[in-house]
Symmetry: D2
Subunit: 341 residues, 4 copies
């Protein structure tokens, strides 16, 4: 059984484990004040240029999201996001747990639009309603689509117009940046957002999300927010060592490119098999619409998620590829799909 369920099934890239092993007995400062966190930050900063960003390393996506939004919002402030965004549906009320409403908007192709934001702001006009104060987007989105530079710039402009903070959740940022549909760089993200994250968990690390903060007001006391939410690791250097490895010699980008290429092969097979897609497949998640019989046949050898029903005889399914997946595993799936013809 080969799993295409997700991109967090495997342990970590060997180079990461090697870096940890090499510093096994080295004594480090605690709580992220060590040289590895500094080196990893400097490496990431080198991609961003001379923007003065602060970088912190957290354990996972939900933790990063709740800590960042907690730092962005006052009790009555709300965050605007798409209906199917991770913070709205798949974080067990973590943002509400910090006291904040998630204002859910329809979005388009999984992406939040300028119009969504405008509508949410214009509806909330008085102290009888929450005050929209931040925008949350993710790149790639929940359905694998990616933002273009033009789209992100448009969102930034509407944020500026209404005094909103912009937070981009990059749990799958590697795959986004490696997408054929992408024209954004880390430098662009640092300029266009107030905070964005670079996901390690789904791209080669044991775990870890780098939180990149451009906005100096949010930089100021961010470590207090981290500790307050249980997100300040005693052994912060473990996360530092991993991002050090990922951003030295472009490993982070190579792993994402690898995953995207494998997804491309599956996509080609789906196209050949005549499967339509929920949305244009451009990253390491693809969502073909497949007939029930084929699904049943594929399930014998492959694990994947049934996303949602399409019609009586078809379902939308999800294939996810990862940094760890090998060409031959994908080939088996490709052959199985093509067998249909």
């Amino acid at each position: 059984m080969i799993s295409f369920m997700n991109d967090y099934s495997e342990c970590a890239h060997p180079l990461i484990l090697k870096n940890l092993a090499e510093h096994c007995y080295e004594q480090n400062e605690g709580y992220g004040m060590d040289r590895h966190c500094k080196a990893a930050s400097d490496l990431i900063r080198s991609y961003i240029g001379n923007v003065e960003v602060d970088i912190h390393f957290l354990n996972g996506g939900t933790q990063a999201n709740l800590t960042v939004l907690s730092a962005m919002l006052r009790p009555f402030d709300a965050v605007i996001a798409t209906e199917r965004s991770h913070i709205n549906t798949h974080e067990t009320g973590a943002i509400e747990g910090c006291g904040h409403k998630v204002l859910s908007m329809p979005g388009e192709d999984g992406k939040l639009t300028r119009e969504d934001i405008r509508e949410a702001v214009q509806f909330h006009t008085t102290e009888h309603m929450v005050h929209p104060a931040a925008v949350y987007i993710s790149d790639t989105t929940e359905i694998g689509s990616v933002y273009t530079k033009q789209e992100l710039t448009a969102i930034r402009e509407v944020c500026n117009e209404y005094g909103l903070l912009l937070f981009l959740d990059g749990a799958r940022l590697g795959s986004a940046l490696a997408s054929s549909a992408n024209d954004l760089t880390l430098r662009d993200l640092a300029w266009l957002t107030d905070v964005f994250t670079i996901g390690g968990t789904k791209n080669g690390a044991l775990a870890g999300e780098a939180v990149v903060i451009s906005n100096s007001l949010i930089q100021k006391d961010f470590r207090f927010y981290m500790k307050h939410h249980g997100a300040l690791n005693a052994k912060g250097f473990i996360l530092g060592m991993q991002f050090e490895t990922l951003f030295r010699d472009r490993l982070y980008f190579q792993l994402a490119e690898h995953a995207n290429e494998l997804a491309e092969q599956i996509k080609d097979a789906c196209v050949s098999a005549g499967f339509p897609f929920l949305t244009r497949p451009v990253s390491n998640q693809i969502f073909p619409v497949v007939d029930n019989e084929t699904i049943k046949r594929l399930q014998k050898d492959f694990a994947f998620e049934i996303w949602e029903p399409a019609d009586d005889s078809h379902q939308i399914i999800r294939f996810v590829t990862s940094w760890a997946m090998r060409e031959e595993q994908v080939q088996k799936l490709v052959e199985a799909i093509r067998r249909k013809n």
Copy 2:
């Protein structure tokens, strides 16, 4: 410079890194539903006997504390702890961040007493005050002392008398169990507490705390609490793999014994040097009272924490030993201390 600052300076025991490396490309279930978490739980359960406990693996101490107490308390419920307990002074308001008051009591030798609990409960009598609903203790305590079975049993009894839940924070449980002053076992802890943790971060793991839940009411929806607080890791198996290694062949206990033995050597040197102690040194943290001149001399070659002033010419300092420390490192400190004579 050799550091005796803390026990979370070094990466992880080589056997742990080896276990991770061996399963580098293995595909695992996400979110702690994998075979490694199961194996680690079974190994821990084998020490506990046939008590039906649930075991979850979280990232760190503050995260474990806030998640457990959040699961134990209703909005108006409070937790009783010593004044200098970690939750009261060193978690940046994480428990209050979940809405709950920490009722701080003086304690004795770093330990909460039956009388502390009784007093806290008896003071809070009406709906105009918080309702004491849980007791938090840590073993070892903040000053390295340990609970005896008699003391813990006494606390359990007063908890039963007043309907309080009992939570033992075992961030340094390894050192406690390996202490010459200890007569508790993991089995005792499972019987005497509602929840306790087994700290990995400070005893050989990259990071990780095992949360052991005996109380079935708290077992029921604990994964919801984890996710709600950002404590449900996509790659839960990374933590599972580590505890699997720690509890196979007693590694967890051996590492703690090693740390305690090294602390014992430092203690002996301090005794020879005529240094008194803040409290009887029985674990991997010892707190000698040292004159300022000696402190200055030691600081040239060794890092350690100045705990608090004793008098005009003396300070209480803290030496912490760890699983990773080598005999020869400790010998250098021992010699430096003895040089005084």
Copy 3:
């Protein structure tokens, strides 16, 4: 200028002020433990029959809603409500401020349906999502519609099916019970809901909502929740005295009947004038669709709310009548509307 803006513009019914004045210097127990709160509870209970309900008096609607829902929900629990419900749009994130997500569903004619509830529950299946645990409805609804006994029974059944608590916000319950479309009694409400409120603020009181709790689990520590949220009044007897007056000799019902009858007169005028309605007008709030010219003309002498645009030349407006409004005030509006013809 006569105001039809809302039903909380006027002070309080003279009988209420008289009752307060008569007991001006009487010494009462504090915090709602007085004889007036008891008498008021007994009077309300007499309408409910022998159901064992607990009754508390709070200051206002948002306070009542957040206190009740806080008592119903654990941190990861969510409440199901319509999109335009008061808790979802007009309480400035008060429910989220208590840590809970409001799951908003479309509803029908302002009312939550059995299907809404079913859909919300079925979408939330795992610990990665919030857990729907309660249902919030209001009677009358935000657009003045009312629930029938059949509709409320259907909601109760689906709540039972899924283990959900049911909370009915009766900020305008007087008008609902006095509606021609209503077939529910206070007794029905006590049987069909876990908690419901009887709004005094909008029906003759200075302020005050009676919270009626049927569910014994929520009864138990409700006063702790009240105090925790700043809702336990030192002078609880002030609220008790008011509800004593309202429920002695059916004053509460008479005031609501009066308001509804006045609304009926306005409705008749609107029908004569050929205005359609947003929804069937059955309570003290009516929502005619009126052309801009007429609106402009009416605004010279009358205050009312512009609810939302209907088309380029028409708007939906809201007329609210109250217990305090006099026949002749309404006649003036009626004449102004009829003048159109």
Copy 4:
């Protein structure tokens, strides 16, 4: 039975009820935007001079405290207060419910000292601990003592030194300002604090606390905080009408003077009877130390609170006088006390 239990036993001063009755059917703007709230604010402002303060009217003390502190503190910020302060012991965790730690300090004679504040700030030095950001005091204190201008100025100075906000809870401010030991004015309070409250509940109103905000940063969005915590009353004008009455013709001060004078008479009787006091009696709460026999005798005709045991045969008791109490009621108590001799 005459009650000296507290100062919130009676309804409201007749002039207040008269003002309400006179405007019984007047139509007012909702949510505190009415002319009565404006008039009341202007009257209070006239005592303060030309300081630009914002004034809001809330329902009660706990509500005012939690709303103000919520507006002052970020999630990891803490408030410094005395151990026995209302927010620390008698608000059922309301401040913690908003996510904030109360840092309790010993105080002196019920009052927080400059040294308390200094010590609390100096203990909290890093992001591993909460950040002291505000100081909470009450005047009169829990034991009836009052702050002098010199003491309050000293507290302000240490607040300025450390960047702390200062909040004075004036639930019994009337009695404080009318105390023989007082040299503060409303004008001083507005200059020396960031926020203070003027308690109506315990000084003649049905209920209500005026929140006076000098600090423009806290002024800005305070109505959002009010609504978020359920403290924005639909009929805000009810509170406005009451403070209008209290501050027209100095009624507020007269009522407090009356209560203090009655307390003075009881104090004189206690002195004659040879009773010592917990603290110097200077306001409407006095705390004599009385032998058990006398207590038993007094309890036959008078209700009062047993505060805490003094020794085996004596207890500290509390007599509270109020605006509503009549001379002859107090005379009966005075006679009963004197009978001892």
